[in-house]
Symmetry: C2
Subunit: 524 residues, 2 copies
């Protein structure tokens, strides 16, 4: 969850909207900033930092230790290496990518106090992107690396009008097709506005010709009758048929009172795909998002050290001294500079020599508690319900179900049975056992797909709040100004230091800034 | 072009809308039927016709000749063969599929009075679906065959908010991103309705609470300010940035007067993806639509005879007598029954023994003159304009440009540079030389993508009006009742005999009916 919903936890959002009522809630929400930012129309992502290896103004070699091999650390290391700058990356895990994690059969999923093997069949289509799972087409930085590394990309369906909205508060317990919801919103709004236009009570300075033009537009916008009423639309679905009879509207339209009964969260569901970074079609690497970090790691080779857990971050006269634990052995690295990409949630727990403003900014950074459950299952949603990719939204704790956007019709698929984020539901999810998380996803998912349980072969979950070295999904706090300058030899980076928190593009933007700051430091 | 636009040619549509004015045009359009119909919610496509081979009531073997190996003829033959019924398919072309045609480098494209080789490089990603190019996810019949035959399917992006709308009549000569158009429509409509709500001039019986709920909804629907005005939205695009600065709205919103200036055709563009059979994500077989007819043809083997051009269709005492030309040699087939799947546009030109109502229905079936131009080109639209799949709409003759939905970032792609349909533009396009068609697409396409011409390596076009054995794109005429009964030994099928004209699912539905009618004929 990002963009216009950013910075408000799910439960807070609901509470605000419910307690304050619609119009008041609106002004409360007015301060919520979208987290989206990138370089549409700027053409190719620019990577010319112009820094070169060799002697700098001080006569010493540039020497950089990078903490963390998520996207931020990988990009920083790759670009330094391209310029021949000495660097080394310390990574706590046994894999690159951080919150870019693709889970497959046989993988061991470690969380605080639990570890579980993923029991999926081993098949290239059976992968689960437990963290980052989609790339907006305007994220030109991460896409330029995909192009450079030859990573095949496919369409990720982010909105499918054939998926469901399950909203007991508005539509009762029966899931409604997304297309029926949209057809009725448009129809109802168009009818309401048309009736004002016909009654001559329209606001402002509409000429008669403009009023006619507006009516013609509303007729099409809402699929209204000739007398500008909304009585249902084939857009919302048609009656089963063979094509040999003229098509009929499937069902009565959802009445406007349904929408007036909805809360702000539901209304958010209804327009998610309008957001710049949540459009109906996005992108994903074929066979899993970890193709991206793996491509970086392949190019870094021995510069990347796994299972090096940072234990102390110290300032010295000439730079930094980093202490780490490597599978029980303690070691250390000294360097002129450190690019520190660990999440704020982790970094603030490590003994350090940061100045007070940095410590304060780290402590003020609040992470959401995102988690997912995935199932290997027969693709019943395709054959039986005509759903090919996309997301079902529900008011239940599980919040979202994601249908796979590829491998259609080919054996089993991986269904994301729950994507829980924010506030109490996220925290509760983190605290559940593996079994209880899967049971939650099954029992709530059955209310949308009664055939779910009998078609599931295996499940696995991930709570980012409960994951060592992450301790959260993504930051909900706007970035502090302190990240725009080095703290002596320390340069801070990571998606949380940008307005694109939770996106690989944010990680990349922060790496880009880190290299700028490094160059400025070196050049004095 | 199908669905709610069905039955009105492009130019007629424009004329109607422009001459009559909005609200009047609306009532004229009210009679236009959508052509959509299929089996959503009906689950698996049913194929149990229960017909078996062997002796029938008359003591003679069932013996069926099928004219045409488009989807209709292929499905009919495949299902008859599965039941052990003797049949033979006569096909005029040297390939199966009819208007399902995938063009690749080296293919010879024959039209009336011209033939051109496609000069694309030979690469699996460089294919051009000159006819059928997309499958709605609710077309359960054709999708069930894809599943049965193991044809890999990918997402086809049918609407991309990152693509352009080019509408000189409303927005001037600068192409506008689709997302900017949509953000402004929603914002403007929401503001207008909110101002009625605030002024208390809303129609009907809104309680104060409902009025508040409506305002809260409009706030989100249109991305309004706290005082319910629309002043632009990040949904419409953001300023280029690095993610290190808070995002800013890219541009002033498109004012409402733009929309009031639009004609009915443009307004249709704005909501195309709302239609049941035109939703933002659809499906297509990987590497080209002809995977479907080829899979049928592989299974039919020698039952399928290419380059057999039907010359006469005669009625005999016991059945049918079909005369054909096979590369200059005349031959004939006799059979008990004929399933005739040739397009009405072709069928009415062949000497026949049909009854008057059939001849009349054939003559009354009007075909649209669809055509496309495709280019092999460097994928500048991806790297330079962040467009991954989808369709740009323009008021120019070329009407649509399609960006490929797969092979992202991988070398060249096939850009559909023009998709012209209906009325005068389609007829004009048919009459152009190969060179003039490509030049039309280049010169008009340059107004949207100035870098187009310099990035194109090769082009090819197809006009279906000008294509032998097709003579048109698809029927714009609602199906006649006469197709619901045999005409003696003749059974008529093809997409034009259904309400799903122009869709493979319509072809399939007509084949299903043909087999029912055949069984009834045989069983007496």
């Amino acid at each position: 969850m990002k963009s216009e919903y950013h910075g408000v936890s799910r439960r807070e959002f609901l509470r605000t909207a419910r307690n304050l009522g619609g119009a008041v809630a609106a002004s409360v929400l007015g301060g919520v900033m979208p987290s989206m930012a990138s370089a549409e129309d700027s053409g190719t992502f620019r990577r010319g930092w112009g820094m070169h290896s060799g002697n700098n103004a001080n006569g010493s070699d540039v020497d950089v230790v990078i903490l963390g091999a998520g996207i931020t650390g990988l990009v920083a290391a790759y670009e330094l290496r391209q310029r021949g700058i000495n660097c080394l990356v310390l990574e706590a895990r046994n894999r690159p990518g951080g919150r870019v994690e693709t889970i497959r059969g046989g993988d061991l999923i470690e969380e605080l106090g639990k570890s579980t093997y993923c029991d999926f069949d081993r098949d290239e289509m059976l992968y689960f992107d437990a963290g980052a799972a989609r790339i907006p087409q305007h994220h030109v930085g991460i896409l330029s690396y995909c192009r450079e590394f030859g990573i095949p990309l496919d369409v990720l369906v982010n909105e499918n009008r054939g998926a469901y909205v399950h909203a007991p508060s508005a539509f009762g317990n029966t899931p409604v097709r997304n297309r029926a919801v949209h057809a009725s919103i448009r129809g109802n709004l168009a009818q309401l506005l048309a009736s004002s236009a016909l009654a001559g009570t329209l606001d402002g300075s509409f000429s008669d010709g403009e009023r006619q033009a507006l009516l013609a537009m509303l007729y099409q916008y809402g699929d209204l009758t000739d007398d500008f009423r909304f009585v249902g639309s084939t857009r919302g679905g048609i009656k089963p048929g063979t094509g040999l009879l003229a098509p009929k509207v499937a069902a009565s339209p959802l009445s406007f009172s349904n929408y007036l009964a909805t809360d702000a969260l539901l209304q958010y569901f209804f327009q998610i795909a309008e957001y710049y970074d949540q459009q109906a079609t996005m992108l994903h690497p074929r066979y899993g998002m970890d193709a991206i970090p793996r491509a970086f790691a392949d190019r870094l080779g021995h510069l990347l050290r796994y299972q090096h857990v940072v234990e102390e971050i110290r300032r010295t006269q000439s730079g930094v001294h980093i202490t780490f634990d490597n599978q029980g052995r303690r070691g250390s690295v000294t360097a002129n500079h450190a690019i520190i990409t660990l999440p704020a949630s982790v970094l603030r727990t490590i003994p350090n020599d940061f100045t007070a403003p940095v410590r304060s900014a780290l402590n003020d950074t609040h992470y959401t508690s995102a988690g997912k459950v995935a199932f290997q299952a027969r693709r019943f949603w395709e054959e039986e319900e005509q759903i090919y990719g996309g997301i079902t939204w529900t008011e239940q704790t599980i919040t979202q179900m994601w249908y796979p956007s590829s491998g259609f019709g080919a054996g089993d698929g991986v269904l994301v049975g729950a994507y829980v984020f924010g506030g109490e539901p996220g925290d509760e999810f983190a605290g559940l056992s593996e079994w209880d998380r899967q049971e939650l996803a099954l029992s709530q998912g059955e209310r949308i797909h009664p055939q779910l349980r009998s078609n599931v072969r295996s499940g696995i979950s991930r709570s980012w709040l409960n994951t060592p070295h992450s301790l959260g999904g993504w930051s909900e706090t706007p970035p502090s100004e302190v990240w725009n300058r080095p703290d002596g030899p320390f340069i801070f980076a990571g998606d949380y230091t940008t307005y694109m928190s939770g996106w690989q593009e944010g990680a990349l933007a922060s790496a880009q800034r880190a290299l700028h700051l490094l160059r400025e430091s070196v050049e004095g």
